[in-house]
Symmetry: C2
Subunit: 180 residues, 2 copies
């Protein structure tokens, strides 16, 4: 899609947002970043996305200030991609969309739910905690917990496995940094 390719002429801020975030795969990359995925290879194996496309999307997201590239070791130089504040704000878009998809196109048991970590209450469709006065819950206080549903052919990549195994707080690194 790329900027200006079209959508230009659309003065609406939605169009500008979609130029960045509306490309194929982009929102799934951001979702994974919320899950705590940070490394190229983990995005790759979890998303089954062509390598070139992933490289392109990561570069776009970094350029837009949605992800930040952070060198976590020299030699060999290794970077991880972490959500910026601007990226974290996309939670208020991603969660309702995810919830909408689950409400209308669910197949079988639910795979995952999202709870307010402080009280364990499941979030409402807008991402708020019904038990805490309907307050907005920042993604850092959200915990994703595996549900009873397991797909017919569960994915075996490290990210999918980790998400199935245990509850996990959003934004925190999902995988240990030092696996072989």
């Amino acid at each position: 899609m790329a900027l200006g390719k079209n959508y230009e002429g659309q003065h609406c801020s939605l169009a500008r947002a979609l130029e960045l975030v509306g490309e194929r795969w982009t929102l799934l990359v951001v979702r994974d970043a919320f899950y705590g995925v940070r490394r190229y290879g983990d995005f790759l194996s979890h998303l089954d996305i062509p390598r070139a496309v992933l490289a392109d999307r990561l570069a776009t997201l970094v350029g837009a200030g949605i992800l930040q590239r952070h060198r976590y070791q020299e030699s060999p130089p290794r970077d991880e991609y972490v959500l910026t504040e601007r990226g974290v704000e996309l939670w208020s878009v991603i969660y309702p969309l995810m919830h909408w998809g689950a409400r209308h196109f669910a197949t079988g048991q639910w795979l995952r739910s999202f709870r307010h970590a402080a009280c364990g209450t499941e979030l409402d469709p807008g991402g708020r905690c019904p038990a805490c006065g309907n307050a907005d819950v920042p993604p850092g206080d959200v915990e994703t917990v595996p549900g009873p549903g397991v797909p017919d052919e569960p994915r075996q990549d490290p990210v999918s496995v980790a998400l199935r195994q245990r509850p996990h707080r959003l934004l925190e690194p999902l995988l240990p940094a030092d696996r072989a």
Copy 2:
């Protein structure tokens, strides 16, 4: 993009949602539907979208139960596209995304704001009314009002003109049904 083209293997409900709503142009079509655009020709002139793509997107949205096709006159047979309940629920995705785009990528004065029609208060980033106990405001109770910002080259299509001229309640038909 189309279903199954890829994103398959992604069991997440976000992926399924994006298969429908994540294609290029689709969310802009839905946004226009909230603005009260209902007719093929109006979508066309407002979005500058290729005719074939518009026809495809409308068919997909109707097939997914997001828009409903409604014949409003026989002879010549004319249909209009109206949001279903399922489509209306996308407001909780579109508004936050629009707001996010405006916050981070604004250029110049704001073009439009969204108010709670009952009390005139501008909606918060989550689409709630701060004056009414932070209650969710259903899109039917939202009014869009033109802002001070006018683009350098304002669009002249009927939809753009109408949106610039007067406040307008979402979901209500934007244009008179009987223009020449």
